[in-house]
Symmetry: C2
Subunit: 350 residues, 2 copies
DNA sequence: CCTAACAGAGAAAGCGCTTACCGAGCAGGC
DNA sequence: GCCTGCTCGGTAAGCGCTTTCTCTGTTAGG
């Protein structure tokens, strides 16, 4: 495959020459400028651009204007439906505003997250959205925050998804409340012996769900013994192994709550492999309401989050274009996104 | 949240001044330049950059160098596991090469695809990867191709995923062959009365799978009547409705093949809702081997594609960094990615 | 010692675009 | 009819970088 002649793309200069006008006029005609341009001229320029197949070089435009149209999105794992749904929301919202989104994945690795943030800053994005970030306890937390703070100092906007990360904007998910409601609903269904597959300890979101769940149980006077909690890594396999661990410990459990659906799916599989029927044998519940859980058997009880909306709002929060769509936006303090407990076959009444 | 003073980010100029060297030296020290720089100077510059929290402005660098480090990825729907897995592959491979990826979604809409390609060109990406594109029959096809051709003329590289799109590079998936093998395997299992939920007619990938499947059946002397083929849109709901349609037509079917797993999941659900047990009643098979299908009941028979690898290779194909990883790379003609029929519970022996 | 050859720092000219600023042309007012 | 005041092209100065080219300071060879 020998490199073809490869002329470089037409520049504004070429367009101006082709149209027989000045560079300035060409620029004004093509990119929405405040200044008016004689319609006849504009026409000529547009046609010339057409003819040459010209597209504005966004990079050059960015350096000239000193601002870009890029949104950077950091997710832990794009193949995870939780994140890909959020990404869909961000991308759609961004496109509507003529913004372009750059995605990077951090693989749930703190060091990599930090490196990625740094690298992404080179793009001078208008907005940086962090989903699935660990903002708790890690040695890197401070570095991350200072990196982000400096990003905001230089005119960027950051928004977090899920856990509160003041002073940065956040699309707050009421993880604690959602889990609490779920616990209450399950207790009311008659479950008593709970175990939970928690997430990584350093992830606030995971921790909140765990704590909220315990709170809900407490309201019904049900304790959650520490040995009934195993920590896993948010993956299906993690959930699978977590369930095995629980089973091996021989505890008398009638419901397993996994703090995300992906792990819950693993739990269902582990139970089945151990000869226990999920649902009728041991109840299973998850969190997120990813599409899959409606299709497995039994369908999973979970807590629904409007993931795509979450992505949308994360962007709007940053661009300030949050036209009010029903979700109360009480000034500064962002109201959490409402979640909803969805009871399905995996948790029949006891 | 009043806008803070918002100083602009440190520039190379600032760094140079801070380090007491010239702009040129600063540039050379920070970004791998061919020219050598006295180590003592380099040190000073690096430290100064550190101190100022400087990160190279990639945009400015791009305009100066005349080339970017961006990869543009177009997918039909990022929330679809097929695409998000591919995206994961692309992103990982790109990160390894220090490239940044921009994702746009086209929503399976031709006009939008074309617009998106145009918009993305403004970013002057090094590479443009198209997955799930319609390259057949649409009125826009020619426009798309000419847009892409012109992109390549100006130094870009495009690579397609799935269907051959000569003269552009392609990560060829042997859709026809994979479907043929699947059909053969199913026929050998004893199935005789087939129906298929095909994809949109204008999508080559969908069409190939349909045709390959028919070929496989033909090898066993089994016909596939046109009324046994319904077209749907690659979504779960599409699959659901397709199956309903088939059922309503009252055909005597013992196996439904949906040309992608997402629709197959819909089929399973539709059958169940109609009181027919998927597997023991009517067999179901899909294509892609997305994670979900292993977890539903019955687990779905399907054709496995190493999706992440596909994404990886799409990038490598374009950047020319295809270190040989076992997949034969016979010079120009790209060998198709090998697929594998995976028989599971949804197609028990008859 | 002197000259040739070579490093390697710095000055400056771009890269493709935006945007003051300038100035020509024209309309209207007195 | 002359002046004021618009309107709207064009000129040119950047934006933050890279890179060529110039030029000085060293080193080495004779």
């Amino acid at each position: 495959m020998s490199a073809p002649a490869s002329k470089s793309p037409a520049t504004l200069h070429d367009v101006a020459r082709e149209a027989g006008v000045s560079l300035a006029t060409a620029s004004r005609s093509l990119n929405g400028s405040a200044r008016k341009v004689n319609e006849a001229y504009r026409q000529r320029v547009v046609e010339a651009a057409q003819r040459l197949g010209y597209t504005t070089n966004l990079f050059a435009q960015a350096v000239a204007k000193g601002s870009t149209t890029t949104v950077a999105l950091l997710v832990a794992d794009i193949a995870d439906p939780y994140f890909s749904s959020i990404a869909a929301g961000v991308i759609n919202a961004a496109n509507e505003e003529g913004l372009v989104v750059t995605i990077a994945v951090t693989g749930r690795d703190t060091q990599r997250e930090l490196d990625t943030v740094r690298a992404l800053r080179g793009q001078r994005p208008r907005v940086m959205i962090l989903a699935g970030s660990r903002t708790t306890g890690s040695a890197y937390e401070e570095q991350l925050r200072s990196e982000l703070a400096s990003f905001e100092d230089t005119g960027g906007k950051v928004s977090f998804i899920s856990q509160d990360a003041a002073p940065f904007a956040t699309v707050l998910l009421d993880n604690r409340g959602g889990a609490r409601d779920l616990a209450v609903a399950l207790a009311e269904l008659g479950y008593r012996d709970f175990a939970v597959i928690a997430g990584p300890r350093e992830i606030r979101t995971a921790q909140d769900r765990l704590e909220g769940f315990a709170e809900g149980l407490a309201e019904h006077g049900i304790p959650l013994a520490p040995e009934r909690v195993v920590h896993a890594d948010f993956t299906r396999d993690g959930g699978y192994r977590g369930a095995q661990e629980l089973l091996a410990a021989g505890a008398d459990v009638d419901l397993v709550f996994a703090v995300n659906d992906v792990m819950a799916v693993g739990v269902v599989s582990a139970l089945r492999d151990a000869g226990i029927e999920p649902g009728s044998g041991i109840g299973v519940a998850g969190y997120d309401d990813i599409p899959t859980v409606r299709d497995i058997t039994p369908a999973l009880t979970t807590v629904r989050i409007p993931l795509e909306d979450v992505g949308r709002r994360a962007l709007q929060l940053a661009t300030g274009s949050a036209y009010d769509d029903g979700v109360p936006d009480s000034g500064e303090g962002p109201a959490p996104i409402p979640t909803e407990t969805v009871l399905r076959g995996s948790t029949p009444r006891r």
